[in-house]
Symmetry: C2
Subunit: 108 residues, 2 copies
DNA sequence: TGCTCATACCTAGTAATACTAGGTATGACA
DNA sequence: TGTCATACCTAGTATTACTAGGTATGAGCA
C-alpha cells in the first residue's frame, strides 16, 4: 500500500474494529491485518497515537483490564463513536464511489 | 468531504482526468467537480502544486498553448504517467476493497 | 539462571500533501 | 470604467501516518 492512501480513513477502520468487540492496541493491528488480507500491515507507531486522538475526541474510552492474565489497555466505543462510525461509512461510500467512477477506464 | 480523505488519491484522479484529454489546471478542477457530482470541489491551491509535483516526477508534461484565443498551460500524460495510472488503479481496487470490507456492518 | 523472542505500550520527531490565504493578470460585459 | 469569472501561482499551515527509538513482561530454552 502506498504512503498516503490511508490518511483520513484509519480512524474509521479502528472504530469499525472496535464495534465488533472492545480491543487493545496491539490486537487492533492484528485484526486489521487479518481482515484486510494483509493490505493494512501497520506499524505500532501508527495505532497508539490514533487511539489517543480518538479518546481525546471522545469517540472511544479505555479501561485497564486483565486479558489472559495480563494488563491490557482495552478500548471500546462510546455513543459518539458509534455516531462517528456511521458518518464515516456514509462518507466512505460517497468518496469511494466518486474515485471509482473517475478511475474507471475511459471510453477510448 | 472530510479533510484528509483525498490524501494519496488526488494524483491518480488528475492522471485519470488527463487520460481522457489534455487539460489545463483550472479545467481539471471543473472536470473533477462535474465527474464526481460535486464530491471533489477543490480549491485552486490544491491543483497547481499537485500538477507541479506530477511534472517533476515525469508523469505529465506541460505546454503553453492557445485555447479559445487565450494562453493556457496544458498538461498531458507521458508514458510514465500512463504506467503510474495503471498502478494507481490496481492499488485503489485493493485499498478500497479492504476498506469497504472492514467498514461493512458487522454481523450483530 | 541467563538469554532470546514475541507481545505490548509509548513518544519525539519527520515526511508528505491538501489546504489557506494571499497575490497577479486577462477578457467579457454592463 | 468597474466588476466579475477565469486562470495561474506560492509561502506557509495543519493534519496525520510513519520512523526510530525507548521500556516492560512472560514464555521457552539452553
Amino acid at each position: 500500500m502506498s504512503n498516503q492512501q490511508l490518511k483520513g480513513h484509519l480512524e474509521a477502520l479502528i472504530l469499525a474494529t472496535l464495534e465488533i468487540r472492545p480491543a487493545y492496541g496491539y490486537s487492533i493491528l492484528e485484526s486489521l491485518r487479518t481482515s484486510s488480507a494483509g493490505v493494512f500491515d501497520l506499524p505500532e507507531g501508527t495505532i497508539y497515537p490514533a487511539l489517543h486522538r480518538l479518546e481525546d475526541a471522545g469517540l472511544v474510552k479505555s479501561t485497564h483490564e486483565m486479558v489472559d492474565g495480563r494488563q491490557r489497555r482495552v478500548y471500546h466505543l462510546v455513543a459518539a463513536g458509534y455516531g462517528s462510525l456511521e458518518k464515516s461509512r456514509k462518507s466512505w461510500q460517497e468518496f469511494s464511489a466518486a474515485v471509482t467512477n473517475i478511475l474507471a477506464v475511459n471510453p477510448a
